[in-house]
Symmetry: D2
Subunit: 357 residues, 4 copies
């Protein structure tokens, strides 16, 4: 059996991409006669026809390497669920290049945007397999995406370091964690870092409730407070608005960052010294953790198993402790958010963590 | 509602013990009128009546702290499934001290040995809740124990560091990973660390098969090999023996460590420079990882929820993504080993990892 | 011999404070009959009379602990070189409390501001010993302050993580490193992190020169650039202005952060995708590195040796590999900046690092 | 100006080798017209004529990479100070290959053994520059070798992890740190890790003194003890013997490791539960720390500066805060041991650390 496999990584940088690529490659070489084509910078390379035949040695020594050896770019069309007029040419180009490369299969590593395009290409008749990567953990149908737990480690380390400053100075520190729509990263790192207040995009907040929690601590022996706030957090009022409306209002108010705004408000309302910390991109870079190396590797190997079995149109997934796969059409573009009544939220409330709602 | 809760930590040191203790305490104080008694050094303190009333502040700042603030000791009776003659007094003492402390409930944090005793005390009429901790991940009924993933991180870091020496010197490095009966830690860290050979207690090995894998690499461009070997690994011949028989034979042969023996054999059989590395106790110490802090905290809070609901005789567990609980009588002392046909083993084989069988 | 020692930590949080406190205490208890008074929140506690007698056990287990067990606050008077009118009362209060505590000596841990006040109190007749801590490494007379190397580790780790994102996306990443006046932290972490461009407060920059370096890389195979920029960096034009003038101009221009401005300018000038990263407070928090634990411990012990020998009015220092001490009056408030012709700068230039001048 | 430079790495693996190689290469390419030849596996490659012309891109991305891209091997002749009969051919071969490669200069990265050979080749008329690498920090004329501080970080991390086990179980843990002749690594990591007892090769011990220190702690509130013991530690009696004599005696006594012997003795003498931990090779592997990346880079750049200036026969060094160089003939093979009266030893004694003498 022989298979020509194209691989691309699309969307934001994420720890574990190279480990997953290595998993696909090692298992493909082990199980069948594989030829692997590396496509540059995600769908851009597929559209513009930029690729290279990979040598076996290129997949060696990359297990621990951060980033992606293939390069990445944001999905070239925003939220492409259907082929819109101006995308017809791009899709055509992708199909032509797929033919030109003589691929038996295309493996795409990415998040929700990447999966939408993958599904679309699958519906157009290409053999596609998706691997769910994102530090946001917001892909439907998989318990965890790779990259997520490494980001939790990094964000937790940030909170740990801020903890000592907060405690030594008796300050209120507002740490802004990545996550525009999904609060998983904030929820996990907030609990792991011992945050007093955790604010998620899915649970709109009332600043007065947060101020009350900060004030109670300020008046106690432990004068400091740690707030883990998702970058996409919003007030109850804001949550009622449409996105454009909210963004317009914020712009008018001179909004820069949620953490900066919150620190300012709390310092005015409670009288504490409050500071914003915005670790930003460091949450998505660097070497994958042991957890993510195992997960990425398994995802990669399972993708190769699907190729061996000529099962296309799937996205690899972790369900419980099993690596399995979902139909691309079932999961593509369906975001997985934190349910307000999620067990972790309830457990967190039961130990006194404030969500500000 | 008021509850007096006794807590003890038993068995080997393990990251996350303090995080779990904190979880129990914070949730108990939050949800009901709790008094918490810290029992010293596991069951020893319960037998000998050594304990102290804890203050709320004692549970503060311990989330990231390695070890256990309560002290620990190995279970005082080996494999106590039934009350044997010479243990009658110990059990009596434990029941008397339980009364003396006026406990509503005893929370025990430990591994299989600890759970056996916990179950026995439960059958004797005490209100007991168990929390599964161990770096071995070998407790039945829970997908993961806390401490396991931190140990995977440490063992993986060890393999990473050894990797560069192996590659620079073209050596064969045999890394001995903790785990006498269960190979989970070796399996996970072996995959995460990119080991070429993984040897588990559950899958007896043939040294000739391992030698062949090492030889093939020695003759390739990448001259070095990384072996992740569980301390409890054994040959196919040894696996057929009874434990005492095997131990006697090994003693006769001057056996010290599995890794030392294997390095010697491989160096003789293949002619490579082979070295053993035995990281030992560092795999069980230190601050818990973010993953284990979340898991321990949730386990602790769930224990407090069970106490609130007066549900006793259970051990807290993770099943899929849910924190839940099993009957102590169902799981106490049932070891969870790596099935030879486990999906992870199959995935690993499919990417060319050798198990030596 | 008996000595009553007061200790305070002043100024910004910094790794190694607790290790240094422990060093003073352990050596004092070991060498003579010591009583130690912990003064709360730096000079604030000395002025307001807030302190506690410390127990020996309070100095145990704090070697690795970030922050300061004594609390800290910014120096209560800005740049106090002489006793100005409105400070007379504060100084009086400090002297009275020194008497009240019956101190033989006051040990102050802090940066340049702290040392100024320490020197002033010394000139007022108090027995004072200073320990130089700051992540900025900008205290005259010592090769290194404690806290600095830990901050280098953290900032380097930040650069490492950003590196993979930069490389995967072909981006220009501008990382803002702490340091308003002194560029040591940026210089060390920039070299350690493999930055292409390093911008220091001491070497004013010309954005056109930086743009040229970024453009050259953008046109090469390695399309990305890493810039390590001190928060206090300024253009050649800005460097000619007085501080107030510069600040006024920047305010007018809507200046927020140096890295944000630089990313915007480079993206406009070169056409690359440029992003700012501002790790902020994480650079000053958390557990001290091994290097800083050794340095802090030695500084602490040497302070106790000075107390034993009744040598007061000194600040402890590292010169070459020796721990020694300088007269407070010689070094207090003298900043140690990076000389433009410093050997490290020249070495960096010789390997192609751009300073933008 | 044009220079053909040969580079080799010799002796044990050590963090920072690749960073130093990169430093040489980047500075050479920047400053003059350089051609670089990578010689495989240390002097073996020079003797056997195994090398390759390096491309500029091969020096990219290796700053953080552990190990050495050139491969390494132990020096091919033990302690070669003079050309002994059986080495004549080897030296001849090295000179011939130097000619064959048309080198202007040979850069050798290694420890004391490597430097001896480098000096010998220099005396034979080759242009040689040495770079001092070793985790032992035992090279005369430089304050620090690169690799040392990374090893201190790793060894300290090991002690930290063991600390929690020791404290939780009330055990005496004997941690064996690398260093056969020089105790620098044990001294630094022992202080950084908060060891109670530090045993160095340079300060022979009396087990009774160590037992006394352990016993005193066992009887105190903090029942546990941490011992940091260099692998080359020896008793006062052993120190009086010649090496062969000592080794013979130890063999007779069934000696395996110093830590194992010490744990056994202390457990018998004091009655505590004592355990040996032997982290071994992990102390020399993995990515260099920020400190070592800076030092290696500077050493590499300075080597290129020397080549630019045609200054040969030197070994690069750190003296105080300056990077400088020593004559190879002055420092080759002169070991730098810990003086018994070294300031760090005295400071450590003053804070109550026991050296067992």
């Amino acid at each position: 059996m022989k298979r020509r496999i194209g691989i691309l990584t699309s969307g934001g940088d994420c720890p574990g991409l190279n480990a997953a690529i290595r998993g696909v490659a090692r298992a493909a070489y082990e199980m069948f006669d594989a030829e692997i084509i590396g496509i540059s910078d995600g769908y851009r390379g597929l559209i513009e026809g930029e690729w290279q035949e990979m040598k076996r040695s290129q997949f060696s020594g990359i297990l621990t390497l951060g980033g992606t050896i293939l390069g990445t770019a944001r999905t070239p069309f925003r939220n492409m669920r259907v082929i819109e007029e101006d995308n017809v040419d791009k899709v055509k180009a992708m199909k032509q290049n797929y033919e030109k490369m003589k691929l038996d299969c295309l493996v795409t590593l990415g998040g929700n945007g990447t999966h939408k395009t993958a599904n679309l290409l699958s519906q157009e008749g290409l053999n596609v397999i998706g691997l769910p990567k994102t530090i946001d953990n917001d892909i439907y149908g998989t318990d965890f995406t790779f990259g997520f737990h490494t980001a939790v480690d990094i964000a937790t380390d940030v909170i740990d370091r801020i903890h000592t400053t907060a405690a030594s100075h008796g300050r209120c520190m507002v740490i802004e964690i990545m996550g525009n729509k999904a609060g998983w990263l904030t929820l996990y790192s907030g609990i792991a870092g011992g945050a007093d207040v955790v604010v998620l995009p899915e649970i709109p907040y009332d600043i007065k409730k947060i101020a009350k929690a900060v004030e109670e601590r300020a008046n106690s022996k432990k004068a400091f407070s740690i707030l883990a706030v998702a970058e996409g957090a919003m007030t109850k009022e804001e949550a009622k608005m449409k996105r454009k409306e909210r963004e317009a209002l914020r712009k008018e108010q001179g909004f820069v960052n949620i953490s900066t705004r919150m620190a300012k408000e709390l310092s005015e309302m409670v009288g504490v010294e409050a500071r914003a910390v915005i670790p930003g991109h460091i949450q998505r870079g660097g070497s994958p953790s042991a957890y993510d190396r195992v997960l990425s590797t398994q995802f990669g190997v399972h993708a190769a198993e699907l190729i061996r079995d000529e099962k296309y149109g799937y996205s690899v997934a972790l369900v419980g402790n099993s690596v399995t796969h979902n139909k691309l059409s079932d999961i593509a573009g369906v975001p997985k958010l934190v349910p307000a009544e999620h067990q972790m939220v309830k457990l967190a409330r039961n130990m006194g963590i404030t969500f500000g709602d």
